[in-house]
Amino acid sequence: MKSCCCLFGVAWLVCGRAWALESSTNFGIFDLDLILSNAPIYEVLGLPTANSDDTFADGFAIEIQDSASAIALDGSGKISGVAFVSVTTDTIVDSRLIVNVTGSMGSISVATFGLQGVASTVQMTLAGKGYATDGINYGPARLILRFTGLMTTGTDGTVAQEVDGTFNGAYQPGIKGVKVSTIRNAPATISSTDLGSMSEIDVNGTVSLFAPDLNFTGQILTPLGLVNLPLQGAGTINASNTVQLSLNGVTSIARGSTLAIKSTATDNPFTSDLSVNAITSLTASGKILGQKVKTDSFAIGITPDD
């Protein structure tokens, strides 16, 4: 009985594969260019700053300026960098500090008034030391601030222009006799000039087809070219011309990025006449730069690789 089952299984696999080879383009290498739209993701390139008009806890106003910064973002949405910041309070204390910047980008289902859908999030910690510029009683200054902010996108894919959030942390101005100030929920913003965004995700690469199996090697191009994510993956095309691909970021720079693609078609898109117009629907979902993406808006091009 067991042998029968095994034989039947093998026969089924062989027949299935033979059928697939017969019913579609059997093999070949193709260039794939897939543009996914209505799936905004962001690259944060600068620091959050706080305005002197915003009164922090303890009743004092503070201004945090991004004097100079260099921020790197990797494929899993992790932020690292360094910055020189100046901190000014309403007590005329001016401190200048070098801060280490760490953080990450992510997504949440929006839980904020008036907003719908998925929102990209930014968490960033600024921690560093410096000095006060008061000439008489100056001393070492310390700052640790954690920024939590939210970018929202409408269901129409409208991209945000800035990241609004809050600072929490502590600031020691470095002036003798001036205590550490606790900062709670102080408004802070990453401005639009420091924010790259895109609503289109360009996935391009090479598809190796040996029906029903597919293999993909390529990349995702991100908005400002700050991070290009190498992708590899595999999939299948079945008798109904449904193509499924599961792609993952490769190399340490892209690990954590994933993209699952499923398309349906009235005809085999890998035929000799490359009838990509036969693709009637396509959905893509995954995580890029730490942010969730999900869309069914697409444009696709498939050409034989010469």
Binding site: S69, A70, G81, V82, T112, N228, I253
Partner: protein, 456 residues
């Protein structure tokens, strides 16, 4: 401890109906009471509330104001100036005026919300009755404001009212009720929030906000509720916020919950990464716990890398420098190695010469840049002649080369970051050369920014 069966006893929809009906009824009673100058009724008990809900409404709900709606400008003074703030409410006689403003549709929303806040702060039976009476016919924004105001109300009726609003059709109102219940923070409020968290019929956003709200309450039993939610809830969006809620608390009380979650065979690696990143946000020193996760070879590399990364994001400097250095000697996964270098930057101490030797042997460019960035930070904080010599002769030229020629854009940027962080004359010179030679606009911009010192 909140028993699950207890949470199921009172359905939110029933509570909402109860509150709405009670609100209409008591508003009518209050309206009659005001007209006939009768003394206020005694405090409402549960039984009395039930009885009230079955009674017919004595008056149709309408604005209490006798002013014609078409002539608001005929009033002698702007309404806003007549509204005392919460602290100013001292006399019970002000409640009718506040109630009038609350129900006056001709008033700006801001004024009506201020009246709601004052009534909630006053907290008397009459004040809460006025708020309940306003709920059924007010716009969502005002009902959300009422919910928010009830969060700080001393009235015992606040929590049941808010519990009923958790299932409000308006998500804005429900979210406001969630936050208000967290502000109340009583055992009854916790029970209502817990019920909402586990209730599949509750809107997703409300459940997510409920998780975060529970995490903000400083009461016994909260961690137990959240720990049960990590395993008892299947929706990953909700569980993510539950983990973030745990991450907002002190690691000393949440470590066990995180350990159980991370050791579960049914939890996906992606959710374990989420848990580990939440640990990085905890209060207290979580570095030893995170180091143990980063070292645990039974965990997937993604989880170990996330644990090392989380060590670089903790608010307090960790104490795991020696342990991380030891891990580097055996760790083979490049992503984990990169994250360990980044974690070392947030440790109190580590052996610089050992790290320097390992960085020089790195073959993966991404890992090498992370190592050089660590040494750059050390050079600025604790400079030594040997480290400076290494950096000027070897690291700075290598970083400049990477910033110019590496095929990975983020590696190029990371190299610029390391040069900026080092701040040595040679590093500055390398940045200057990058401005002239690079074709990458971001590299040029960041190099230029890195050369700009504060105040210049």
């Amino acid at each position: 401890m909140i028993d699950k069966s207890q949470r199921k006893e009172v359905r939110p929809a029933f509570l909402a109906s109860l509150v709405v009906l009670a609100g209409v009824a008591v508003a009518g009673i209050l309206f009659l009471g005001l007209r006939h100058s009768q003394p206020p009724a005694p405090a409402v008990t549960d039984d009395q509330t039930a009885a009230t809900t079955s009674a017919p409404s004595p008056e149709p709900t309408q604005p209490v104001s006798s002013e014609p709606a078409s002539a608001p400008t005929a009033k002698p003074a702007p309404a806003q100036t007549q509204i005392p703030n919460a602290a100013a409410v001292e006399s019970p006689t002000s409640v009718p005026k506040l109630a009038k403003t609350l129900n006056d549709e001709t008033q700006p929303l801001k004024a009506r919300a201020a009246a709601a806040k004052a009534l909630a702060a006053e907290g008397s039976y009459e004040a809460i009755t006025a708020l309940a009476g306003a709920l059924p016919n007010s716009p969502d924004a005002l009902r959300a404001a009422i919910a928010q105001a009830l969060g700080t109300s001393p009235s015992a009726q606040s929590v049941p009212m808010l519990a009923g609003m958790l299932s409000d059709a308006s998500e804005a109102v429900a979210l406001a009720a969630v936050r208000a219940l967290a502000d109340q923070g009583t055992p009854q409020a916790i029970a209502s929030l817990s019920q909402s968290l586990f209730d599949l019929s509750t809107a997703l956003n409300v459940r997510c906000e409920t998780a975060l709200a529970l995490g903000s309450i400083d009461q016994p039993g909260i961690v137990d509720v959240l720990a049960r939610a990590t395993t008892g809830i299947t929706d990953e969006d909700v569980v993510t916020q539950v983990l973030n809620a745990l991450g907002s608390r002190d690691i000393s009380e949440t470590k066990g919950a995180f350990q159980n979650y991370l050791s579960s065979a049914t939890v996906s690696p992606e959710m374990k990464v989420t848990a580990v990143e939440a640990i990085g946000q905890t209060q207290g020193d979580a570095s030893a716990f995170l180091a143990s996760i980063a070292q645990d070879q039974t965990q997937p590399a993604d989880v170990r890398a996330a644990a090392a990364w989380a060590m670089s994001t903790t608010q307090t400097e960790g104490t795991q420098g020696p342990q991380l250095t030891t891990m580097l000697q055996t760790e083979t996964d490049p992503d984990v190695r990169r994250r360990i270098y980044q974690a070392l930057a947030n440790q109190e101490d580590f052996d610089v010469s050992t790290i320097q030797a390992m960085v020089q042997k790195e073959t993966d460019k991404t890992v090498q840049v992370a190592g050089l960035d660590l040494l750059a930070g050390q050079l600025r904080q604790n400079p030594s002649s040997s480290l400076q010599s290494f950096f000027d002769q070897t690291a700075a030229p290598e970083l400049k080369n990477l910033a110019l020629n590496d095929t990975t854009a983020s590696d190029r940027m990371a190299a610029v970051v390391a040069l900026v962080r080092a701040g040595t004359p040679d590093a500055m010179a390398a940045l200057q050369q990058l401005i002239q030679q690079s074709t990458d606009p971001r590299v040029i911009q960041s190099a230029r920014s890195g050369l700009t010192k504060p105040g210049h």
